[in-house]
Every structure is written in structure tokens, then in C-alpha cells.
Symmetry: C2
Subunit: 402 residues, 2 copies
């Protein structure tokens, strides 16, 4: 067992579950009788010697429950890419000096792709320069595009938000007798995992979304028009990834099309959904509407996936166990057994950092506008269950550092 | 007690609670041993003889629970304005003939402002032409802008969605160390009730939103810049109504300003939030983001206000009681007693149809960018409580007509 104290940081874009992972880390450190410090704003906290002691707050069970249900990053985040290890030695020395002041020998870093690069660099520097500090990465991202894990913590809650919201918008769109098209824009510039999850909105009483477009599959304007023409639905619901591209690789959001104007005379554009909306309006003359789910996909936590939250706690806790046993330079991950059980695994940070995992082609229907049964089987278990919310004055109660 | 059967319709834009009101109507009719028919797509159902029998479906308790939790309009809706009673007599005769075929003598019409005009016209026509059919309106709208009622069914759930979502977006925005402004656009072109409800996002751990702009108060670009300059927050959250106007009465969404471009080179515009975003970006050079809550405000039902849902059932039921006792040409409403109890009242449809209720000036702070304590006291009880959701495959289960 490694001696010394823990530090933990959160990095990259927030999710509904990144604080659940933080909770898993904190609880496991406390249950091992160790001190644990939070680095404020990711690696910047270590650079600037901005640490916060976490034991006293999270020895109280009510604060633990609140942390699990609070969206975004309790410790703050950063988008700071560490330079190469031999490039700016003084920066690395400063970080390790600050760790040393608090006797921090074990650092858990919760983040996405770029953050795993931080884990890789710091662990390599420590090994090369005889620093007695270990680093373990714990993944998170709503995008689900990390290698070396069945899925990422945070994705399940975002997927549940997408599926739930698409199902509600479909109800809303279906109330009028006149034909309409509603286009819903979903996050994911290169990987269409979240857009694929919109298929989970379907139920015995709704077949929406009727068309689903992922960035993994080029979409010509001609094909889009053909698909809409062939769709038998009166009120069409279309789920599009923000990153859909045409056959020449040009983002739809950059297409120079004849944009429609709304009743106030201003052009309706912004993202891929607005462009798809304009194309449909111009070609079919039906009522159209585009809805961008925007940051709600990553911060809506009042109907999170309990599976996601529980797994996020679990992987945080597993990271602590691994580092205590002497591991460094690794990133934790999930392995799926049957349908559906999860075991925790780990990969070398060098093997997973800076890579992106796209939706595989056998998850995308041949017609290019749907997902396959295999995709649904993969996605479905990830959105199961809901946490019991704690509310105050009618809204969810959160916990904050300040 | 009036003899005969019931009909019920839903009209105008959907809400999260309009089906709860429908449930109140159906249950009360059934408990009085009557037959009840749904008019499909509002008054169009009566015009086109498109009725659906409701007793058999809603004698099952599980379907009642689902109806209460299903957003949008179970019976479909319409935006059809009836002509004047002496203008198109054959249309009115057709409607009453269709009612007569099913022995419908009592009609409940659930809707907003325009729908109360339908109640007014049909009840007047019936009285003038000796038709034995009574009409009672039951209000709904997320906009809360109807006269003759303390608040409208549907508003509380939309207000709770706005408050909850603003609180979550505020967490998301606060994670980075760099200054930023996030502008959230909320529905309400002439009345700022929903935007005012964003103030309910504040808690012991968050002071967001920091600036709130309602359409009732003109806002000059100069004042906006001044307000942002004076705001001490690092990560500013601004709630704007879609209908904010400048000192010359021009909608912000129509302002011809120097629009910023995002990293993909396309202009970022559409509504008032985008214009406010551009102004802040151009004047302060900080990171900005605008979020349009869009239709989610009216269809997000998975975290509805239980107070709203329960009151919506209650007012539907009260409408049935009133019509059975011989009332016609009235619109049901809420009267608030103390803080907080509700009693059901009614008004003549002629007194409330086609009018709009704005946010009163003593609900708006003198500085023009906040609401008063009085507003908070009014709004707060309306968002209390949450229903226990029924889910299937990880998403809320709904009921649908088809």
C-alpha cells in the first residue's frame, strides 16, 4: 500500500455524473483513512497551489448524497493542455513541489481525452525524474468517444436526457393535424453516440425519431430530401448530430443554402439542425422547427441515469484502490459482461489518450438514417433507473465549493 | 342537474399539465355516471364529427395515472379561430348537429386565450338559437397571461422547468476560471412570467440568474452594457424573455447589430438571447453562450410541478361540476387564499377572452434587471413538489390516442 495523501481533480467539459465519480474517489480515500485534497480547476490547482481539503465536508453523509446529484464539476474544471515533459520542466517541478508540500503521493484525474494526456505526461515525468507520485485517470464524457472502455461515465445520463426529451418533443409536435418537421440537434461533432441514443425515445406509443443522422455517415442534401419525402409520418421528428457532413465532408452547419426567414425577418441559422430545417422548409413548405439541446445535455441532472451515477461512483472508488496498490499511468474503464453487468478494468494512459471512438458501422442502419438493433442493445442498459432527488424550494438542491 | 353526455377538447399550445386537466374532466364525468367523448384536434373534432369515446380507456386507473404524466395534448389540438356567430351560420349548425348525434349537452373546452373566445362564441350561439348545449372553459397556458385567474394551469410546471434548468446551466457555466456570460432565452413575447420564474433558480449556493430582463420593461443596449459591466460575477447568467424590446419598442431579435461569428464562420443569431450574446461578446470580449429553452419549456414533464398537476386535475373536475349545475359561457379560474391555498372560481367568458395579463410593475425591480420579493412570493408556491414518474425502458411512459 502506497503511503501519503490523495489529490483529485476534474477536467474538461462537465457532465451530470462527474461529481458522482468525485464522490467515489473521496469516499474510498476516506475509508482508507487518508487525507484527500481537491485541486481547484483541474491541473491549474496544482500549478497555482490551489487545493481544498475534502475530508471534513464529505465525512457528512448528507453532503455525499448532494454531491452525487449535483451536475457540473464541484472542484471546477480547466481546458489546459500540459506541454511536453521535456519542454517546460519548471512547470512540472512546480506541480510536484506543490504536491510535496501536502504529502500528496496519489493523484486521481477525472476527465476526457485531453485529461488522459495529462495523466500520461505527469506519470511519465514522475517515473523519469524519481518523483514519488502516482497518477490514475478516471474517464468521463457525455460524448462516449473514449477508447478502452465499454462506455464512459456521464454518457448514460446525457443519453437518458436526450431520449426523454426527444420523446417529450415528439408528443408536443404531434398535437396538430397539419404536417410538420421538428429537427433536434444533439451534441457530438465527430462521434454520434448521443444522437444514436435518441432512438431510445421510441416506445409502444411513439415511433419518433423517424430519421437519425450521425456524423459517421455522410449525408447529401439530395438524400435528406429523399428521406423526408419517403417518411410516412405526418409530424416528422429528425435527430441530427451537430457534426453531420455532406458527401464532400462539409459540415451542414457551414452549408451555404438559401436560408429561410422567420416572421421577424431574420435568418434562422446557427447549427446543423437550423440548416436541415431550412432545407426542409424550402423543399416541402411544411411547418418546421429546430431545437438545439445545447448544454442541457451535459448539465441536466434532475432525471439522470441511476445506472450511470452508480457506475460513476464505482469507477472513482476503483481508481483509488488501483493507485493504492501501486498503479500509475493508467486509465480506468468498464468492461461489459453479458447483458448487463459491468466490471472495472484499466488501460495504459499511453494506449487511450488522444484517441476517439466513433460509432461502429454495424450500429448504423444500412439506409443511413437509423441505428441497428445491435446499437439499441448496447445503449439501452445505460439509461436505466433514476435517483431520488433532494429538493429545496421546488428545485434540486446542489452542493457547491464556494 | 343537466342531462346528457359530455364532450371535452384541448386547444392551443400544449403544456405539461393540459392532460392533467383532461383527466380531471374525464374522472368527474365518469363519477357522475355520464358518457364522455373527446373532440379530436379541438373544435375541429366537432366540425368534422371526429369524436372518441373516453369512458372505456379511463375507467382503468393505470391509464389515468399515465394521462396525468403525459405532456402535450392527448386529444390533439388546433389553432382554429371560430368566425363570428352570425357570419358562418352553417358551420355552427354543423357543430351542434354533431353534438346532437351523440346527445352531447355539455362541452368542456381546455385552452388559452383564443380558446376562451371559442367558449364565448359557442355559448352565445347556443343561447341565441335555442341549442341545448352548455360550454365551460378551463384555462391552460405556460405563459400565465390569462385574466380572471391567480395563475394558469401549466405555468407552474413550465416555471419549475425554467428554474431547475437555469440552476443546472449556472453550475455548468461556473466550472471554468475564466469570465463568461451565458444568456438563456425564455418564452413569453409580451408577458414575462416565465422569465421572472428564472429567479426561482437561486439558492443558498447560487445567486444566478444575475440579470433578468422581461418584455414589460424596455431595455436599451446602453443599459444592458452598463448592467453587465456592473455585475460582480465572474460567470454571469442572464435570463432574457424572447420578447425583450429596446427603448424604441424594437424587439432585440430584430436589432441590426454587428453579429459575431463562431469558429465555423457562420453568424450566430436567431432570437433575443443570440443578439444579447453578440452585444456582450463585442463589448467585453469574454466567452459567451446563448441557450434557447425552446419547446422544452412547455413539453418537459418528467420533473413537473406536482402542485400544478394536482391543481390542473382539480380545475378540470370543477368545470364538470359547474356545467352539471347549469353554468354556461364561463371560464374556470383560481383564487389564492393566504400563502398558499387555492379555491376555484369562475368568470364570464366575455370578461376574460382575448385579454392578456402582463407582469405587474411592482413585481419588477426598480433597476429593471430583477424581480421583487413580492414576485418571488407569488411564484414560489407554484413549483412545489414532483410527481412519481412511471418509466418504461428508462424513459417516462406516456399514453397516446393512436
Amino acid at each position: 500500500m502506497i503511503q501519503g495523501n490523495f489529490a483529485v481533480a476534474q477536467s474538461g467539459g462537465p457532465t451530470a455524473a462527474i461529481n458522482a465519480t468525485l464522490l467515489g474517489v473521496i469516499k474510498e480515500a476516506i475509508s482508507n483513512g487518508r487525507k484527500i485534497y481537491g485541486m481547484v480547476n483541474g491541473i491549474l490547482g496544482a500549478v497555482n497551489n490551489n487545493f481544498v481539503e475534502l475530508n471534513s465536508t464529505f465525512e457528512k453523509e448528507e453532503n455525499c448524497e448532494l454531491l452525487k446529484l449535483t451536475p457540473a464539476a464541484y472542484l471546477g474544471s480547466c481546458r489546459f493542455k500540459l506541454p511536453d515533459t521535456d519542454e517546460k520542466k519548471e512547470l512540472f517541478e512546480q506541480i510536484f513541489e506543490n504536491f510535496n508540500k501536502l504529502n500528496i503521493t496519489m493523484v486521481l484525474y477525472i476527465g476526457g481525452n485531453d485529461s488522459m494526456d495529462t495523466v500520461k505526461k505527469l506519470s511519465e515525468y514522475a517515473l523519469k525524474n524519481g518523483k514519488n507520485v502516482s497518477f490514475v485517470g478516471v474517464p468521463k464524457t457525455i460524448d462516449n468517444d473514449l477508447m478502452g472502455t465499454d462506455h464512459t461515465p456521464g454518457f448514460g445520463s446525457a443519453a437518458k436526457f436526450v431520449a426523454t426529451t426527444v420523446s417529450e418533443i415528439a408528443r408536443d409536435s404531434a398535437v396538430y393535424a397539419n404536417p410538420s418537421a421538428t429537427i433536434i440537434e444533439i451534441m457530438g461533432r465527430n462521434a454520434g453516440w448521443l444522437t444514436a441514443a435518441s432512438a431510445l425515445a421510441r416506445s409502444k406509443t411513439s415511433s419518433a425519431p423517424h430519421l437519425i443522422y450521425l456524423p459517421e455517415r455522410p449525408l447529401s442534401v439530395k438524400q435528406l430530401i429523399e428521406d423526408v419525402k419517403n417518411c410516412p409520418e405526418k409530424n416528422i421528428i429528425i435527430a441530427v448530430s451537430e457534426g453531420i457532413r455532406n458527401e464532400n465532408g462539409i459540415y451542414f452547419s457551414n452549408l451555404d443554402c438559401n436560408l429561410s426567414h422567420d416572421e421577424f425577418g431574420h435568418a434562422q441559422l446557427s447549427g446543423s439542425a437550423s440548416v436541415v430545417e431550412s432545407i426542409i422548409k424550402d423543399n416541402f413548405g411544411i411547418k418546421t422547427r429546430s431545437v438545439e439541446l445545447n448544454v442541457l445535455q451535459r448539465c441536466s441532472s434532475h432525471f439522470a441515469s441511476l445506472t450511470d451515477l452508480d457506475e460513476s461512483v464505482m469507477i472513482g472508488s476503483a481508481g483509488v484502490k488501483a493507485i493504492l496498490e501501486g498503479q500509475t499511468g493508467i486509465v480506468m474503464g468498464f468492461n461489459r459482461i453479458g447483458d448487463y453487468k459491468i466490471e472495472i478494468i484499466s488501460n495504459k494512459a499511453t494506449d487511450v489518450a488522444n484517441l476517439e471512438k466513433a460509432v461502429p458501422s454495424d450500429y448504423i442502419a444500412e439506409n443511413g438514417h437509423d441505428v441497428t438493433e445491435k446499437a439499441l442493445k448496447y445503449l439501452s442498459p445505460l439509461i436505466m433507473g433514476e435517483p431520488q432527488m433532494i429538493t429545496e424550494n421546488g428545485i434540486p438542491k446542489h452542493i457547491s465549493l464556494k
